[in-house]
Symmetry: C4
Subunit: 204 residues, 4 copies
């Protein structure tokens, strides 16, 4: 099966997820700047973080399927698992924001990030296995440093929010720093795939 | 008429249906794990079931239209009927979940599953008739065992939820087991279409 | 400019409109069949009518752009006007349903149908003018009987709902009959475009 | 990387933004024309303004990527920034409308327009730099008069709403005139890109 429809469907789902979150932004009751800051001030930043994360996944998905020509049934389901994890972002983002970054919602958000990372890794592995020993994706991924470091960031964030005394709010602050840090790691463009893709296209 | 726009439109509608359901998940009022379990615990599983069902239909739709090159007006309308049935899933899922699996909502959910199965079967029949005696879809579908067994599952679920004494909750449990069982039946990838598709492409 | 992105964007907007309406369906408070009938009974039929109308427009849009290769700026804006009219359907449908088919909402729904028909006619005219004297769309449209009859249906519906004594509810009933009748007129597939398209493709 | 998926994803996001705004339109409680005018009268016009703005951006985006064959990582992120700014439109539009055009919401709406214009300009600059000295986009854009005038309009609107005494409502009226004026400026089709595109395609 060609991957064009799988890509179109994934694009559609991710486009909806990324825009649905803005619906969670509550319109302030009052008409003044303080109302905006009180109602949506933090919310806007939380929304931005999740927007960036969905953007990163779309970006990586885009790069990954650049090296995939055909998709088996296993790839379809691995891809749907990833989309399921991503589709929970509006929910966990809203809970974290509504609770003003309470401990459990922050841990839940971290678990959502972790589950999406695992689903992405699974999808990557399924594709590499399907492509066989000459897999262009395996060459592009290489040692996959980022893919291995970021789950560690999420895990560190989850543990610090969970373990460190809540009243001090230090654990939650560390967790958010981990989540933002892992995002920054990914925004830097990934030159590996670009390189292999150029070779792959030339040899075509 | 080429099928590319029909596929793009169907992808769009199914992408929206699959993500709209997450909007039905209510964000918990409290900030603790028990709040999450109480508010969304069951909801998440119900959402997952409907997510898997829409995923199955997208998957089968994808496989089916792989063998279709041109679509007549009848195919367009049969396809819209299927999309209509699928678009009711967020509604019936939310009702079943809100009512904590009361008898009537579970029966309604089963009827929704049944109507989608009938719409899919109709679409398949319309395409096969259009393709004529050499229909590649007919060859791919073969005896269509899954397509015939799953409506029986839905019917069994509807009847058990409807007929068995409600206070005991046994009927509803059997119904849910039927709905989950039919989903599992479909997740196993369908090798028939893959096989015929390969032959079809080679003979192209 | 090639029309592929215009079609993709229109597909996206119409896919959203057609599925957004299901969000207007309120989940019943109770768990019984009577709750469903009371809360959503009529709503489901109203939703079905608007679903069919958006389906018709998508269908016609699909057929129309089958005969269009390039789109000027005027076509883009005429197309956006059509999408704007269509995007009001969820709103007017919900109002008509909420008011249990009161006079003004039914008239408003009819005006929405009328405005969409005018926007579609304008789009068609702009394309024919752009294509020049050998316009394949002009040949396909021919005398455009349906396109001329349906606005008359909408107008008749609007006038009867508006003019006939409201307490009797006769006017509203006639209006709804007009709106349903015009929809049925369009569901019958349009063989004209198919015919010209085949010729157009052959001569390509 | 080819730009097809970037365009499809952007189409999806803009299609959702443009239709999500209609969800903000509140269905009137009463059944009379006065209820419609009171509840949605102004809202419909505000919605129309934002609809036109998203339409303009889609239109320009469409024209711009007509001259782009390949997209680097920087282009992907500049594009996501633009989509982020656009996705705030439903929120700022709803706030401006809810507050019946109070000072701060109008200023916020203007800032949203300004940020989208800056994001668009950044995207354009990133693409031109990527394309190098022979950039077809640079030739098409030329002196980019519109792109330079419209931010001035937004800024004038923001300042007048902010600086002029609020009770008089004159400042807000001037601001809205600026926002509508800048939109009208863009609706006039842009012949520059069409011209260069034709040359570009011929030389292909």
């Amino acid at each position: 099966m060609r991957t064009s429809r799988l890509e179109a469907f994934s694009d559609g789902v991710m486009a909806i997820i990324i825009t649905v979150m803005v619906l969670e932004l509550k319109v302030p009751q009052g008409h003044h700047l303080t109302d905006l800051v009180h109602t949506t001030g933090v919310g806007l930043l939380t929304y931005l973080l999740s927007f960036v994360y969905v953007g990163i996944y779309w970006n990586n998905h885009h790069h990954m399927f650049h090296l995939v020509r055909h998709a088996s049934g296993a790839v379809l389901w691995a891809n749907l698992s990833l989309l399921f994890c991503l589709s929970l972002f509006p929910f966990t983002t809203a809970w974290m924001d509504d609770s003003k970054f309470a401990q459990t919602p922050v841990v839940t958000y971290g678990l959502n990030l972790l589950s999406a990372a695992i689903a992405y890794y699974t999808l990557q592995t399924v594709i590499i296995r399907q492509q066989g020993p000459q897999s262009p994706l395996r060459q592009a991924v290489g040692r996959d440093l980022k893919g291995k470091i970021s789950p560690a960031f999420y895990l560190a964030g989850i543990l610090s929010a969970w373990a460190i005394d809540r009243s001090g709010r230090v654990g939650v602050a560390i967790a958010l720093a981990c989540f933002i840090g892992a995002a920054l790691l990914w925004i830097v463009p990934d030159r590996r795939v670009d390189r292999v893709a150029r070779r792959y296209e030339t040899s075509d």
